[in-house]
């Protein structure tokens, strides 16, 4: 039995410990916001937070998450008001939308560690996230906006 905390909720899972976290989220628990794009950690659509770090759930076994805290896009904020989510709406980033959860989850780690990222920092953080529709410029714009929102909130 593997116990995992996902979006602040505890789950007891009777499951093969080798199962990737991605398929536990999607097929077992029913959280489908985290996407399957490649299965080999090349596209970033599957990024979730494991104890705050942006792991690729398609290759992360559920055993690695045992007793740990996982946050998915559904749990990034309680009221859909994470600065990244607000910025994404403000900039109207999305086209097909399939990659965006992964982009946001990766960007969330960037913004936690770097309050004022440059375009170069964004590249370093999100180079592993593919957007097939090409919304990269808007993603950068939204991240800068979210960072500004964050800095403003901190100032109070």
């Amino acid at each position: 039995m593997i116990t995992v905390t996902i979006n602040k909720k505890n789950y007891d899972l009777d499951i093969d410990p080798e199962t990737p976290l991605l398929w536990v989220l999607r097929d077992v628990i029913g959280l489908v916001g985290t996407k399957y794009g490649c299965g080999v950690a090349q596209c970033g659509a599957c990024v979730v937070h494991l104890n705050g770090e942006a792991v690729r759930s398609c290759v992360t076994k559920i055993s690695r998450a045992a007793g740990q805290k996982v946050v998915t896009i559904e749990g990034l904020s309680e009221k859909n008001d994470h600065p990244l989510q607000k910025a994404w709406m403000e900039v109207d980033v999305v086209q097909c939308g399939y990659c965006q959860a992964g982009q946001i989850m990766a960007a969330a780690v960037l913004l936690r560690e770097n309050k004022n990222p440059t375009d170069d920092d964004i590249d370093k953080a999100l180079e592993g996230n593919i957007c097939r529709c090409g919304t990269y410029l808007r993603i950068k714009k939204a991240i800068h906006l979210a960072a500004a929102m964050q800095r403003k909130n901190v100032k109070g």
């Binding site: 080999v40 090349q42 990024v47 960007a107 780690v109 960037l110 370093k124 953080a125 592993g128």
Partner: protein
């Protein structure tokens, strides 16, 4: 008596200076019972392994690891970062799990997966045999390892992982056992650097 002591002291100093090759920034690891021919021969075997993809890919000259049997730049350009563990959402352990991920093209794994840190890059890529040998035997450039630690390093889990990296990755040109024998021989016989 004092003249004698003084002479010895001077001789030892000169020997010491000669042994260090007059390099001010190196701190050679101290070895006894030197056999330079055997040591150099052993190192040429070691060199083959260290310059093979399974080792060299994570000892790159730049700040992006190499990848694959053809040593191409790692896709997605993850960068070393200060501690060698990557940065932001591209930390090594974000993709590289504690064990190999099954399947072709899935990332190999180890709990210690990382590059050397930025202040101790331990570059293999582009090194001649002489350069590499001198680097490894230099306390200041080898991660501050003394002789015992150097010997121990070949037994390190991450080093061993080079022989077990999963589907589609050629193992180093010597078996692990052969490598360890050559490594020990090289170091125990003096850790001598080849002429070139």
């Amino acid at each position: 008596m004092t003249k004698f002591v003084l002479t010895i002291a001077v001789l030892v100093s000169i020997t010491g200076l000669l042994a260090s090759g007059f390099r001010k920034n190196t701190v050679p690891v101290a070895i006894n019972n030197i056999d330079s021919t055997a040591s150099v021969a052993a190192f040429m075997e070691v060199y083959k392994v260290l310059m093979s993809p399974r080792c060299m890919n994570c000892h790159p000259a730049g700040d992006i690891p190499l990848q694959g049997d053809d040593n191409h730049l790692h896709t997605m350009s993850p960068i070393r970062g200060k501690d060698g563990k990557g940065v932001y959402a591209m930390k090594c352990s974000n993709c590289h799990q504690p064990t190999n991920s099954p399947g072709l093209n899935a990332p190999p794994g180890n709990p210690k997966w990382a590059l050397p840190p930025a202040d101790m890059k331990m570059v293999f890529e582009g090194r001649s045999p002489r350069e590499l040998a001198l680097q490894i035997m230099d306390y200041k450039r080898n991660g501050h390892k003394n002789k015992a630690q150097l010997i121990e390093h070949a037994r390190d889990t991450l080093v061993k992982a080079g022989w077990n990296m999963g589907e589609g990755r050629k193992p180093p040109p010597l078996s692990y056992t052969e490598f360890v024998v050559a490594w020990d021989e090289w170091i125990n016989k003096g850790g001598i650097a080849p002429a070139n």
